[in-house]
Amino acid sequence: MPKDRGLRELYEQDPIVADEIVFGRRTGPDRRGFLKGAGLAAMGTVLGAGIPFHRSMPAGLIPAALADSTDDVVIEGKTGLRVLNDRPVNAETPAHLLDDDVTPVAHYYIRNNGVPPDNTRAEGWRLTVDGEVHQALNLTIGDLADRFEVVTLRLQHECGGNGRAGFNPPASGNQWTTGAIGNAAWTGVRMRDVLDAAGLKDSALYTAHHGADTHLSGDPAKVPISRGVPMWKAMDPHTLIAWQMNGQDIHPMNGAPLRILCPGWPGSTSQKWLTRIQVRDVVHDGTKMTAPSYSVPYHSVQPGAEVAKADFKIIESMPVKSLITYPRSGMTLPEGHRALRLRGHAWSGDDTVTAVDVSHDFGATWTRATLSAPPNPYSWQRWEAELSFPTRGYYEIWARATNGRGRQQPFIPPWNPKGYLNNAMHRIAVMVAA
């Protein structure tokens, strides 16, 4: 059996031959069970089934898997993102790169569950609307633009697992910190108008969204993700079927050429690479619709506790939240400077933010920020504030948003098994030199 280092050298010389040699050498008499069951299966998985779903990678892909590094992953059209995972691609935006009112495409986060489709061209793309409707539809993107009013809205769109890294005991999944949020300007049509054209039956209860991405395992029978929303959310005039992002084609990793924007709800309800909206007479039970996916316990639970599946509810509106986007954490004020203007954004699922307060003394006192109204419902809102520091030293700045229902961001979020809905106050560090 080759040592790992030798294995890599083999792969460098000839990946195809190395695959054979390495897997072949696993057939030692002492590891009979391993060989028959798993050695062969692994060869099949990595070499056979592996090739289609790693189609963008060269043959002999084991060294990449072994490399275990996301430092050198380059995603065309994206800059400054922190890559959490390269298969599937998941990348978040550092807070200081979210300073714009409209999040640039290059800084918009990526949350993939499966393998994106190869072909993301608008030409020939079709959307089917069927299920509990009187007239099933099959539309091109041109049809959508011709038949329905085209609107552009700024919409806040946050992953349900944003902030997962802040839970202890750690929750499983991609360890998002604060950067799985974006607020782009999306152009498309209202899902309501399309569903009205199809004609909802009285039995219509829930949508089921289907996309063109494929399962990581390469198994065509498996679906990476298919989520939906209750009819009232689908019929909200801010829920869009969109084909443009900031006036450009949608980035391929953000769902080109067509996707849903279901603002204020877990990002996964905004299906990417959209091919079908199926109207159902039951709560959708597609992949990642059932507990514990995108679900939290009905009741508060002790950190680390096991929670029965029957005790989970599907997440709907996301909680009130804010970010400090200027300055960047770690800033040092120049000597003689004791005042700082800071700014950021605040948002709150289906609700509106009514106040943002900031503190520079670990929450002992608070200063009310200036808060702008959203340019349209479901956009995040700009806030700005000025703080003065009494002495030199190390300061933390905390930001806390309050929504129209009086809900505030907590300091510590309620623990839940999958690490969703962490809306704890954002903190940055500032050094005052003198």
Binding site: V73, N85, D86, P169, K222
Partner: protein
């Protein structure tokens, strides 16, 4: 931007290994790494029981090949030892200097 262009440039010569050695490490690299990045493993901090549940979930829901019976315990021991609850996942790119969530100090004492 007609196609989803992601460029993977594997650092074959300077690969960052999973910790430890032995058969379990090799199996984790081959089995888990066959479908998803090993960053998905190194980001986690879970008890042996939750790793066990995760392997069951991977087989039942995600199409992973069953581990051979005689290696399952070794693999679970390995995962629990290196990525147990006391492993504070910092993400594949390493812990951010000041992610600003949770109760840890933003600038740890030096």
């Amino acid at each position: 931007m007609a196609c989803a262009a992601i460029l993977l440039l594997p650092r074959v010569t300077a690969a960052q290994d999973l910790p430890g050695d032995g058969e379990a490490k090799w199996i984790v690299e081959a089995w888990c790494g066959a479908c998803h990045s090993l960053a998905m493993v190194t980001q986690q901090g879970m008890s042996r029981r939750r790793w066990d549940e995760t392997l069951v979930w991977m087989v039942e829901k995600q199409g992973m090949q069953e581990l051979p019976d005689d290696t399952r315990e070794t693999v679970l021991d390995y995962l629990a030892e290196h990525f147990g609850e006391d492993h504070r996942p910092g993400g594949a790119a390493g812990p951010p200097p000041s992610m600003g969530i949770g109760v840890q100090p933003l600038f740890p004492p030096r």
